[in-house]
Protein backbone atom coordinates (compact mmCIF):
# COMPACT_ATOMS: atom_id res chain seq x y z
CA UNK A 1 0.00 0.00 0.00
CA UNK A 2 2.79 2.35 0.97
CA UNK A 3 4.63 1.62 -2.25
CA UNK A 4 1.55 2.40 -4.34
CA UNK A 5 1.12 5.69 -2.51
CA UNK A 6 4.80 6.47 -3.07
CA UNK A 7 4.43 5.62 -6.74
CA UNK A 8 1.58 8.09 -7.06
CA UNK A 9 3.49 10.67 -5.02
CA UNK A 10 6.53 10.32 -7.29
CA UNK A 11 4.59 10.94 -10.50
CA UNK A 12 2.60 13.72 -8.85
CA UNK A 13 5.83 15.45 -7.85
CA UNK A 14 7.07 15.33 -11.44
CA UNK A 15 3.80 16.67 -12.83
CA UNK A 16 3.34 19.37 -10.20
CA UNK A 17 6.87 20.64 -9.73
CA UNK A 18 8.03 20.56 -13.37
CA UNK A 19 6.52 24.01 -14.15
CA UNK A 20 8.02 25.41 -10.95
CA UNK A 21 11.49 24.16 -11.97
CA UNK A 22 11.13 25.83 -15.37
CA UNK A 23 9.92 29.01 -13.71
CA UNK A 24 12.83 29.09 -11.29
CA UNK A 25 15.27 28.55 -14.16
CA UNK A 26 13.74 31.40 -16.17
CA UNK A 27 13.81 33.72 -13.14
CA UNK A 28 17.39 32.81 -12.20
CA UNK A 29 18.51 33.37 -15.78
CA UNK A 30 16.88 36.80 -15.82
CA UNK A 31 18.56 37.70 -12.52
CA UNK A 32 21.98 36.63 -13.82
CA UNK A 33 21.39 38.84 -16.87
CA UNK A 34 20.53 41.79 -14.56
CA UNK A 35 16.87 41.70 -15.43
CA UNK A 36 13.93 41.24 -13.10
CA UNK A 37 12.29 38.40 -14.94
CA UNK A 38 8.87 36.82 -14.54
CA UNK A 39 7.62 35.33 -11.29
CA UNK A 40 8.70 31.77 -10.63
CA UNK A 41 5.01 30.87 -10.70
CA UNK A 42 4.58 32.22 -14.23
CA UNK A 43 4.44 28.73 -15.84
CA UNK A 44 1.46 27.91 -13.61
CA UNK A 45 -0.36 31.11 -14.66
CA UNK A 46 0.41 30.24 -18.30
CA UNK A 47 -1.02 26.77 -17.82
CA UNK A 48 -4.13 28.11 -16.06
CA UNK A 49 -4.71 30.61 -18.85
CA UNK A 50 -4.12 28.17 -21.72
CA UNK A 51 -6.15 25.36 -20.19
CA UNK A 52 -9.20 27.64 -20.03
CA UNK A 53 -8.97 28.55 -23.70
CA UNK A 54 -10.30 26.67 -26.66
CA UNK A 55 -7.86 25.70 -29.38
CA UNK A 56 -7.87 26.48 -33.07
CA UNK A 57 -6.84 23.47 -35.13
CA UNK A 58 -6.13 23.61 -38.84
CA UNK A 59 -8.82 21.82 -40.86
CA UNK A 60 -6.07 19.86 -42.61
CA UNK A 61 -4.83 18.42 -39.33
CA UNK A 62 -5.50 14.77 -38.68
CA UNK A 63 -6.04 12.90 -35.44
CA UNK A 64 -2.27 12.61 -34.96
CA UNK A 65 -2.08 16.34 -34.39
CA UNK A 66 -4.82 16.15 -31.76
CA UNK A 67 -3.48 13.20 -29.77
CA UNK A 68 0.25 13.97 -29.95
CA UNK A 69 0.40 16.21 -26.84
CA UNK A 70 -1.42 13.60 -24.79
CA UNK A 71 0.73 10.72 -26.04
CA UNK A 72 3.85 12.69 -25.19
CA UNK A 73 2.41 13.56 -21.78
CA UNK A 74 1.72 9.89 -21.02
CA UNK A 75 5.24 8.97 -22.18
CA UNK A 76 6.76 11.37 -19.65
CA UNK A 77 4.35 10.10 -17.01
CA UNK A 78 5.54 6.55 -17.76
CA UNK A 79 9.17 7.55 -17.43
CA UNK A 80 8.37 9.25 -14.12
CA UNK A 81 7.29 5.89 -12.70
CA UNK A 82 10.41 3.92 -13.63
CA UNK A 83 13.38 6.10 -12.66
CA UNK A 84 14.63 6.92 -9.16
CA UNK A 85 13.10 10.29 -8.34
CA UNK A 86 12.28 10.20 -4.64
CA UNK A 87 13.14 6.69 -3.44
CA UNK A 88 16.23 4.56 -3.84
CA UNK A 89 14.32 1.29 -4.11
CA UNK A 90 12.29 0.39 -7.19
CA UNK A 91 8.61 1.23 -6.86
CA UNK A 92 5.90 -1.21 -8.10
CA UNK A 93 5.95 0.01 -11.71
CA UNK A 94 9.74 0.22 -12.01
CA UNK A 95 9.85 -3.24 -13.60
CA UNK A 96 8.43 -1.67 -16.79
CA UNK A 97 11.76 -0.61 -18.24
CA UNK A 98 15.44 -0.05 -17.58
CA UNK A 99 17.41 2.99 -18.76
CA UNK A 100 17.35 1.90 -22.40
CA UNK A 101 13.62 1.26 -22.23
CA UNK A 102 13.18 4.69 -20.68
CA UNK A 103 15.13 6.20 -23.57
CA UNK A 104 12.79 4.41 -26.01
CA UNK A 105 9.76 5.90 -24.28
CA UNK A 106 11.35 9.35 -24.38
CA UNK A 107 12.08 9.02 -28.08
CA UNK A 108 8.48 7.93 -28.68
CA UNK A 109 7.42 11.27 -27.19
CA UNK A 110 9.85 13.08 -29.48
CA UNK A 111 8.60 11.04 -32.44
CA UNK A 112 4.90 11.87 -31.99
CA UNK A 113 5.73 15.55 -31.51
CA UNK A 114 7.72 15.52 -34.75
CA UNK A 115 4.85 13.74 -36.54
CA UNK A 116 2.41 16.33 -35.27
CA UNK A 117 4.69 19.09 -36.52
CA UNK A 118 4.68 17.52 -39.99
CA UNK A 119 0.96 16.88 -39.90
CA UNK A 120 -0.28 20.41 -40.56
CA UNK A 121 2.27 20.85 -43.37
CA UNK A 122 3.31 24.24 -42.06
CA UNK A 123 6.80 25.04 -43.32
CA UNK A 124 8.22 25.94 -39.91
CA UNK A 125 6.82 22.78 -38.33
CA UNK A 126 8.50 20.70 -41.02
CA UNK A 127 11.75 22.59 -40.48
CA UNK A 128 11.59 21.98 -36.72
CA UNK A 129 10.70 18.31 -37.16
CA UNK A 130 13.57 17.82 -39.56
CA UNK A 131 16.06 19.53 -37.27
CA UNK A 132 14.97 17.77 -34.09
CA UNK A 133 15.02 14.41 -35.85
CA UNK A 134 18.51 15.11 -37.15
CA UNK A 135 19.72 16.10 -33.68
CA UNK A 136 17.91 13.15 -32.13
CA UNK A 137 19.56 10.74 -34.56
CA UNK A 138 22.95 12.07 -33.44
CA UNK A 139 22.11 12.21 -29.74
CA UNK A 140 20.66 8.72 -29.50
CA UNK A 141 23.94 6.79 -30.07
CA UNK A 142 25.65 9.03 -27.53
CA UNK A 143 22.83 8.39 -25.04
CA UNK A 144 23.11 4.64 -25.53
CA UNK A 145 26.87 4.88 -24.95
CA UNK A 146 26.25 6.81 -21.72
CA UNK A 147 24.07 3.92 -20.61
CA UNK A 148 26.95 1.61 -21.44
CA UNK A 149 29.21 3.62 -19.14
CA UNK A 150 26.55 3.08 -16.47
CA UNK A 151 26.69 -0.60 -17.28
CA UNK A 152 30.49 -0.59 -17.06
CA UNK A 153 30.30 0.88 -13.56
CA UNK A 154 27.37 -1.04 -12.09
CA UNK A 155 27.22 -4.15 -14.32
CA UNK A 156 23.58 -3.37 -15.05
CA UNK A 157 21.54 -0.84 -16.99
CA UNK A 158 19.10 -0.40 -14.18
CA UNK A 159 19.22 3.14 -12.74
CA UNK A 160 18.67 1.87 -9.20
CA UNK A 161 21.72 -0.41 -9.40
CA UNK A 162 23.83 2.47 -10.66
CA UNK A 163 22.54 4.69 -7.87
CA UNK A 164 23.47 2.14 -5.22
CA UNK A 165 26.86 1.33 -6.74
CA UNK A 166 27.92 4.95 -6.99
CA UNK A 167 26.46 5.95 -3.63
CA UNK A 168 27.97 2.91 -1.98
CA UNK A 169 31.65 3.41 -2.70
CA UNK A 170 33.69 6.54 -3.16
CA UNK A 171 36.10 4.77 -5.49
CA UNK A 172 33.23 3.84 -7.82
CA UNK A 173 32.17 7.48 -7.80
CA UNK A 174 35.63 8.64 -8.86
CA UNK A 175 36.11 6.00 -11.55
CA UNK A 176 37.05 7.78 -14.79
CA UNK A 177 34.26 5.84 -16.48
CA UNK A 178 31.66 7.34 -14.17
CA UNK A 179 33.02 10.89 -14.33
CA UNK A 180 33.18 10.81 -18.14
CA UNK A 181 29.64 9.43 -18.19
CA UNK A 182 28.52 12.35 -16.00
CA UNK A 183 29.98 14.91 -18.42
CA UNK A 184 28.57 13.13 -21.47
CA UNK A 185 25.12 12.82 -19.91
CA UNK A 186 25.06 16.47 -18.88
CA UNK A 187 25.80 17.50 -22.47
CA UNK A 188 22.96 15.27 -23.60
CA UNK A 189 20.59 16.82 -21.04
CA UNK A 190 21.34 20.18 -22.66
CA UNK A 191 20.81 18.70 -26.13
CA UNK A 192 17.58 16.88 -25.32
CA UNK A 193 16.01 19.90 -23.70
CA UNK A 194 17.11 22.33 -26.37
CA UNK A 195 19.08 24.54 -24.02
CA UNK A 196 22.03 26.76 -24.94
CA UNK A 197 24.38 25.93 -26.73
CA UNK A 198 22.06 23.82 -28.91
CA UNK A 199 18.94 25.93 -28.99
CA UNK A 200 17.74 29.08 -27.30
CA UNK A 201 14.73 28.18 -25.14
CA UNK A 202 13.57 31.79 -24.98
CA UNK A 203 14.27 32.54 -28.64
CA UNK A 204 11.41 33.92 -30.70
CA UNK A 205 12.92 33.99 -34.19
CA UNK A 206 11.16 31.23 -36.06
CA UNK A 207 13.89 30.55 -38.59
CA UNK A 208 16.48 29.64 -35.94
CA UNK A 209 14.17 27.69 -33.63
CA UNK A 210 14.71 23.99 -33.21
CA UNK A 211 12.48 22.54 -30.51
CA UNK A 212 9.94 25.33 -30.31
CA UNK A 213 9.15 25.45 -34.02
CA UNK A 214 7.49 22.05 -33.77
CA UNK A 215 4.74 23.37 -31.57
CA UNK A 216 3.98 26.70 -33.26
CA UNK A 217 0.70 25.39 -34.62
CA UNK A 218 -0.71 24.51 -31.23
CA UNK A 219 -2.99 26.71 -29.23
CA UNK A 220 -5.18 26.59 -26.15
CA UNK A 221 -5.43 23.38 -24.18
CA UNK A 222 -3.16 21.33 -26.45
CA UNK A 223 -0.51 24.03 -26.28
CA UNK A 224 -0.69 23.93 -22.47
CA UNK A 225 -0.11 20.18 -22.51
CA UNK A 226 2.79 20.52 -24.97
CA UNK A 227 4.45 23.13 -22.78
CA UNK A 228 3.92 20.95 -19.74
CA UNK A 229 5.56 18.07 -21.68
CA UNK A 230 8.68 20.14 -22.24
CA UNK A 231 8.90 21.11 -18.57
CA UNK A 232 8.40 17.51 -17.45
CA UNK A 233 11.16 16.38 -19.79
CA UNK A 234 13.55 18.93 -18.30
CA UNK A 235 12.55 17.98 -14.78
CA UNK A 236 12.86 14.23 -15.44
CA UNK A 237 16.23 14.38 -17.16
CA UNK A 238 17.59 16.74 -14.51
CA UNK A 239 16.46 14.45 -11.72
CA UNK A 240 17.91 11.37 -13.44
CA UNK A 241 21.15 13.30 -13.88
CA UNK A 242 21.28 14.31 -10.22
CA UNK A 243 19.93 11.12 -8.62
CA UNK A 244 21.76 8.55 -10.71
CA UNK A 245 24.96 10.35 -11.69
CA UNK A 246 25.95 13.36 -9.61
CA UNK A 247 24.43 13.17 -6.11
CA UNK A 248 23.22 9.60 -5.60
CA UNK A 249 22.73 10.22 -1.88
CA UNK A 250 19.69 11.56 -0.04
CA UNK A 251 16.99 9.48 -1.66
CA UNK A 252 14.24 8.30 0.67
CA UNK A 253 13.52 4.71 1.65
CA UNK A 254 10.57 3.06 0.01
CA UNK A 255 9.08 1.67 3.23
CA UNK A 256 7.33 4.78 4.47
CA UNK A 257 5.63 7.86 3.10
CA UNK A 258 7.91 10.01 5.25
CA UNK A 259 10.90 8.57 3.40
CA UNK A 260 9.37 9.59 0.11
CA UNK A 261 8.66 13.12 1.32
CA UNK A 262 12.22 13.39 2.61
CA UNK A 263 13.52 12.20 -0.76
CA UNK A 264 11.33 14.74 -2.52
CA UNK A 265 12.71 17.60 -0.43
CA UNK A 266 16.27 16.40 -1.11
CA UNK A 267 15.42 16.23 -4.82
CA UNK A 268 14.33 19.86 -4.86
CA UNK A 269 17.66 20.78 -3.28
CA UNK A 270 19.58 18.77 -5.88
CA UNK A 271 17.62 20.35 -8.69
CA UNK A 272 18.73 23.77 -7.45
CA UNK A 273 22.32 22.63 -8.07
CA UNK A 274 21.51 21.23 -11.51
CA UNK A 275 19.47 24.32 -12.41
CA UNK A 276 22.35 26.55 -11.37
CA UNK A 277 24.69 24.68 -13.71
CA UNK A 278 22.19 25.02 -16.57
CA UNK A 279 21.68 28.72 -15.87
CA UNK A 280 25.42 29.39 -15.80
CA UNK A 281 25.83 27.65 -19.15
CA UNK A 282 22.79 29.40 -20.62
CA UNK A 283 24.20 32.78 -19.67
CA UNK A 284 27.83 32.27 -20.59
CA UNK A 285 27.73 30.54 -23.97
CA UNK A 286 26.32 31.50 -27.33
CA UNK A 287 24.14 29.27 -29.41
CA UNK A 288 26.14 27.03 -31.73
CA UNK A 289 25.79 27.25 -35.47
CA UNK A 290 23.56 24.44 -36.73
CA UNK A 291 26.33 22.29 -38.15
CA UNK A 292 28.52 22.69 -35.07
CA UNK A 293 25.83 20.85 -33.10
CA UNK A 294 27.13 17.60 -34.57
CA UNK A 295 30.54 18.37 -33.06
CA UNK A 296 28.99 19.10 -29.66
CA UNK A 297 27.13 15.79 -29.65
CA UNK A 298 30.22 14.11 -31.09
CA UNK A 299 32.18 15.32 -28.08
CA UNK A 300 29.60 13.80 -25.77
CA UNK A 301 29.81 10.55 -27.76
CA UNK A 302 33.58 10.62 -27.45
CA UNK A 303 33.49 11.18 -23.68
CA UNK A 304 31.18 8.21 -23.24
CA UNK A 305 33.26 6.05 -25.60
CA UNK A 306 36.53 6.82 -23.80
CA UNK A 307 34.71 6.17 -20.54
CA UNK A 308 33.63 2.73 -21.68
CA UNK A 309 37.03 1.74 -23.03
CA UNK A 310 38.68 3.02 -19.85
CA UNK A 311 36.20 1.02 -17.80
CA UNK A 312 37.10 -2.01 -19.83
CA UNK A 313 40.81 -1.46 -19.20
CA UNK A 314 40.75 -0.42 -15.55
CA UNK A 315 38.01 -2.77 -14.53
CA UNK A 316 36.51 -2.23 -11.13
Amino acid sequence: MTSVALQILQSAIVVIFAPLYAGVLARAEAIVQSKRGPSVLQPYWDLAKLLRKGSAISENASWIFRIAPFVAFSCYLTVSTIVPIITDQPLPLAFLADLIGGAFVLSLAGFVTALAALDTASPLGGLGASRTTWIGSLAEPALILVFFTVAAVSRSDNPYFENHTVAGSISAYFLPTHLLGVVAFFMLVLVENGRIPIDNPTGSIEISMIEESRVLEYSGREYAIIKWDGWMKLFLLSSIFMNVFVIPWGLGHADSIAGGVEGALALLGKLVVCGLAIVVIDCSFAKLRLFRIAEFIGASFLFALIGIVTGYVIGR
Binding site: S171, F174, L175, P176, L179, L180, A294, E295, G298, A299, L302, F303, L305, I306, V309, T310, Y312, V313, I314
Partner: protein
Protein backbone atom coordinates in the same frame (compact mmCIF):
# COMPACT_ATOMS: atom_id res chain seq x y z
CA UNK B 1 46.83 8.23 1.23
CA UNK B 2 46.32 4.59 0.37
CA UNK B 3 47.89 2.91 -2.64
CA UNK B 4 44.51 2.21 -4.24
CA UNK B 5 43.54 5.87 -4.13
CA UNK B 6 46.87 6.91 -5.61
CA UNK B 7 46.39 4.49 -8.47
CA UNK B 8 42.89 5.85 -9.01
CA UNK B 9 44.14 9.44 -8.96
CA UNK B 10 46.83 8.56 -11.47
CA UNK B 11 44.17 6.97 -13.68
CA UNK B 12 42.11 10.14 -13.47
CA UNK B 13 45.09 12.31 -14.35
CA UNK B 14 45.92 10.06 -17.31
CA UNK B 15 42.34 10.31 -18.54
CA UNK B 16 42.56 14.11 -18.18
CA UNK B 17 45.73 14.07 -20.29
CA UNK B 18 43.97 11.99 -22.93
CA UNK B 19 40.99 14.33 -22.95
CA UNK B 20 43.24 17.37 -23.35
CA UNK B 21 44.83 15.65 -26.35
CA UNK B 22 41.37 15.19 -27.83
CA UNK B 23 40.59 18.84 -27.09
CA UNK B 24 43.70 19.80 -29.02
CA UNK B 25 42.71 17.53 -31.88
CA UNK B 26 39.22 19.02 -31.97
CA UNK B 27 40.26 22.64 -31.86
CA UNK B 28 41.03 25.02 -34.69
CA UNK B 29 42.66 27.95 -32.93
CA UNK B 30 46.41 28.18 -32.38
CA UNK B 31 45.95 29.86 -29.00
CA UNK B 32 43.91 26.89 -27.84
CA UNK B 33 46.51 24.36 -29.01
CA UNK B 34 49.12 25.99 -26.83
CA UNK B 35 46.76 26.42 -23.88
CA UNK B 36 45.74 22.75 -23.99
CA UNK B 37 49.35 21.66 -24.29
CA UNK B 38 50.35 23.79 -21.30
CA UNK B 39 47.47 22.41 -19.23
CA UNK B 40 48.36 18.87 -20.27
CA UNK B 41 51.95 19.35 -19.21
CA UNK B 42 50.86 20.70 -15.82
CA UNK B 43 48.61 17.68 -15.30
CA UNK B 44 51.55 15.49 -16.33
CA UNK B 45 53.80 17.16 -13.76
CA UNK B 46 51.18 16.46 -11.07
CA UNK B 47 51.11 12.82 -12.19
CA UNK B 48 54.92 12.63 -11.95
CA UNK B 49 54.79 14.19 -8.48
CA UNK B 50 52.28 11.54 -7.49
CA UNK B 51 54.60 8.76 -8.63
CA UNK B 52 57.46 10.50 -6.81
CA UNK B 53 55.38 10.53 -3.64
CA UNK B 54 54.65 6.85 -4.10
CA UNK B 55 58.23 5.76 -4.75
CA UNK B 56 59.79 8.44 -2.56
CA UNK B 57 62.43 9.26 -5.19
CA UNK B 58 64.12 12.67 -5.30
CA UNK B 59 64.91 12.51 -9.00
CA UNK B 60 61.22 12.12 -9.83
CA UNK B 61 60.47 15.22 -7.77
CA UNK B 62 63.09 17.05 -9.80
CA UNK B 63 61.52 15.68 -12.98
CA UNK B 64 58.08 16.91 -11.89
CA UNK B 65 59.48 20.36 -11.25
CA UNK B 66 61.33 20.38 -14.58
CA UNK B 67 58.18 19.27 -16.42
CA UNK B 68 56.17 22.02 -14.77
CA UNK B 69 58.71 24.74 -15.50
CA UNK B 70 59.82 23.77 -18.99
CA UNK B 71 56.77 22.14 -20.53
CA UNK B 72 54.05 23.82 -18.53
CA UNK B 73 55.42 27.35 -18.67
CA UNK B 74 58.56 27.72 -20.80
CA UNK B 75 57.66 26.03 -24.08
CA UNK B 76 54.08 27.38 -24.24
CA UNK B 77 55.28 30.94 -23.65
CA UNK B 78 58.09 30.59 -26.21
CA UNK B 79 55.74 29.09 -28.80
CA UNK B 80 53.15 31.78 -28.24
CA UNK B 81 55.60 34.66 -28.30
CA UNK B 82 57.92 33.58 -31.11
CA UNK B 83 55.53 31.74 -33.40
CA UNK B 84 51.88 32.53 -32.82
CA UNK B 85 52.11 36.23 -32.01
CA UNK B 86 54.97 37.01 -34.36
CA UNK B 87 53.54 35.13 -37.34
CA UNK B 88 50.02 36.36 -36.48
CA UNK B 89 48.58 32.86 -36.52
CA UNK B 90 44.96 32.65 -35.47
CA UNK B 91 42.82 30.03 -37.09
CA UNK B 92 44.28 26.80 -38.44
CA UNK B 93 42.89 26.29 -41.94
CA UNK B 94 45.46 23.76 -43.12
CA UNK B 95 43.79 20.59 -41.83
CA UNK B 96 43.63 17.68 -44.22
CA UNK B 97 40.48 16.07 -42.77
CA UNK B 98 37.46 17.54 -41.05
CA UNK B 99 37.51 17.95 -37.29
CA UNK B 100 34.85 15.27 -36.82
CA UNK B 101 36.72 12.80 -39.01
CA UNK B 102 39.97 13.30 -37.14
CA UNK B 103 38.12 12.87 -33.83
CA UNK B 104 36.63 9.59 -35.03
CA UNK B 105 40.05 8.39 -36.21
CA UNK B 106 41.36 9.44 -32.79
CA UNK B 107 38.69 7.39 -31.03
CA UNK B 108 39.61 4.35 -33.17
CA UNK B 109 43.29 4.85 -32.34
CA UNK B 110 42.44 5.09 -28.64
CA UNK B 111 40.54 1.82 -28.81
CA UNK B 112 43.47 0.28 -30.68
CA UNK B 113 45.90 1.44 -28.00
CA UNK B 114 43.72 -0.13 -25.33
CA UNK B 115 43.57 -3.44 -27.14
CA UNK B 116 47.27 -3.43 -28.02
CA UNK B 117 48.43 -2.90 -24.43
CA UNK B 118 45.89 -4.62 -22.30
CA UNK B 119 46.85 -4.02 -18.64
CA UNK B 120 46.30 -7.67 -17.82
CA UNK B 121 49.22 -8.54 -20.12
CA UNK B 122 51.56 -6.07 -18.39
CA UNK B 123 53.85 -7.11 -15.56
CA UNK B 124 52.44 -6.69 -12.08
CA UNK B 125 53.63 -4.15 -9.55
CA UNK B 126 53.22 -1.08 -11.73
CA UNK B 127 52.06 2.17 -10.17
CA UNK B 128 48.96 2.32 -12.32
CA UNK B 129 48.78 -0.19 -15.14
CA UNK B 130 45.90 1.57 -16.88
CA UNK B 131 48.11 4.58 -17.54
CA UNK B 132 50.10 2.52 -20.05
CA UNK B 133 47.33 2.09 -22.63
CA UNK B 134 46.31 5.70 -21.99
CA UNK B 135 49.84 6.91 -22.68
CA UNK B 136 49.95 4.82 -25.85
CA UNK B 137 46.73 6.47 -26.93
CA UNK B 138 48.26 9.90 -26.30
CA UNK B 139 51.31 8.93 -28.39
CA UNK B 140 49.11 7.79 -31.28
CA UNK B 141 46.93 10.89 -31.03
CA UNK B 142 49.98 13.15 -31.04
CA UNK B 143 51.14 11.39 -34.18
CA UNK B 144 47.66 11.79 -35.67
CA UNK B 145 47.82 15.49 -34.86
CA UNK B 146 51.04 15.73 -36.85
CA UNK B 147 49.53 13.80 -39.75
CA UNK B 148 46.22 15.63 -40.19
CA UNK B 149 47.60 19.13 -39.57
CA UNK B 150 49.59 20.65 -42.40
CA UNK B 151 50.68 23.73 -40.51
CA UNK B 152 54.15 23.33 -39.08
CA UNK B 153 53.25 25.05 -35.80
CA UNK B 154 50.35 22.64 -35.32
CA UNK B 155 52.71 19.78 -36.15
CA UNK B 156 55.12 21.06 -33.51
CA UNK B 157 52.31 20.91 -30.94
CA UNK B 158 51.47 17.38 -32.12
CA UNK B 159 55.08 16.36 -31.59
CA UNK B 160 55.12 17.87 -28.10
CA UNK B 161 51.92 16.00 -27.21
CA UNK B 162 53.45 12.76 -28.47
CA UNK B 163 56.42 13.44 -26.21
CA UNK B 164 54.08 14.00 -23.24
CA UNK B 165 52.58 10.59 -23.97
CA UNK B 166 56.04 9.02 -23.94
CA UNK B 167 56.71 10.60 -20.56
CA UNK B 168 53.41 9.43 -19.13
CA UNK B 169 54.22 5.89 -20.19
CA UNK B 170 57.78 6.18 -18.91
CA UNK B 171 56.87 7.25 -15.38
CA UNK B 172 54.47 4.34 -14.96
CA UNK B 173 56.46 1.64 -16.74
CA UNK B 174 60.04 2.48 -15.85
CA UNK B 175 59.76 4.90 -12.97
CA UNK B 176 63.19 3.90 -11.72
CA UNK B 177 64.92 5.20 -14.80
CA UNK B 178 68.30 6.84 -14.11
CA UNK B 179 67.88 10.57 -13.77
CA UNK B 180 70.60 11.28 -16.33
CA UNK B 181 68.50 9.62 -19.06
CA UNK B 182 65.45 11.68 -18.21
CA UNK B 183 67.49 14.86 -18.07
CA UNK B 184 68.94 13.92 -21.47
CA UNK B 185 65.45 13.54 -22.92
CA UNK B 186 64.62 16.97 -21.56
CA UNK B 187 67.66 18.49 -23.20
CA UNK B 188 66.64 16.85 -26.49
CA UNK B 189 63.19 18.31 -26.12
CA UNK B 190 64.43 21.84 -25.54
CA UNK B 191 66.87 21.54 -28.43
CA UNK B 192 64.08 20.19 -30.63
CA UNK B 193 61.80 23.09 -29.79
CA UNK B 194 64.58 25.57 -30.51
CA UNK B 195 65.27 23.93 -33.89
CA UNK B 196 61.57 23.95 -34.71
CA UNK B 197 61.29 27.64 -33.77
CA UNK B 198 64.16 28.52 -36.08
CA UNK B 199 62.92 26.25 -38.84
CA UNK B 200 59.38 27.53 -38.77
CA UNK B 201 60.50 31.15 -38.61
CA UNK B 202 62.79 30.53 -41.58
CA UNK B 203 59.97 28.80 -43.46
CA UNK B 204 57.61 31.68 -42.77
CA UNK B 205 60.27 34.15 -43.84
CA UNK B 206 61.01 32.42 -47.17
CA UNK B 207 57.61 31.19 -48.20
CA UNK B 208 55.36 33.64 -46.30
CA UNK B 209 53.43 30.66 -45.01
CA UNK B 210 53.81 28.00 -42.35
CA UNK B 211 51.86 25.44 -44.31
CA UNK B 212 54.01 22.35 -44.83
CA UNK B 213 52.14 21.24 -47.95
CA UNK B 214 53.82 24.13 -49.77
CA UNK B 215 57.08 22.25 -49.34
CA UNK B 216 55.96 19.57 -51.77
CA UNK B 217 56.15 21.90 -54.72
CA UNK B 218 59.42 22.41 -56.48
CA UNK B 219 60.57 25.96 -56.81
CA UNK B 220 63.38 27.56 -58.61
Amino acid sequence: MSTVNQGLLLDLLSVAILLLTFACLGSKLFDRYVAYYALQSIVLSVAIALVALRLDAWDLWALALLTFLIKGIGIPIATRRYLIVRLELKRDVAISTGISTSLIIGAVLTAFAYFATNPSSLPGGLVASSSVPLSNAVILLGALCMVVRRNTVAQLIGWLILENGVFLGAITLVATFPFIVEAGIFLDLVAGVLIMLTLVSGLAHRLATTNASELQELRE
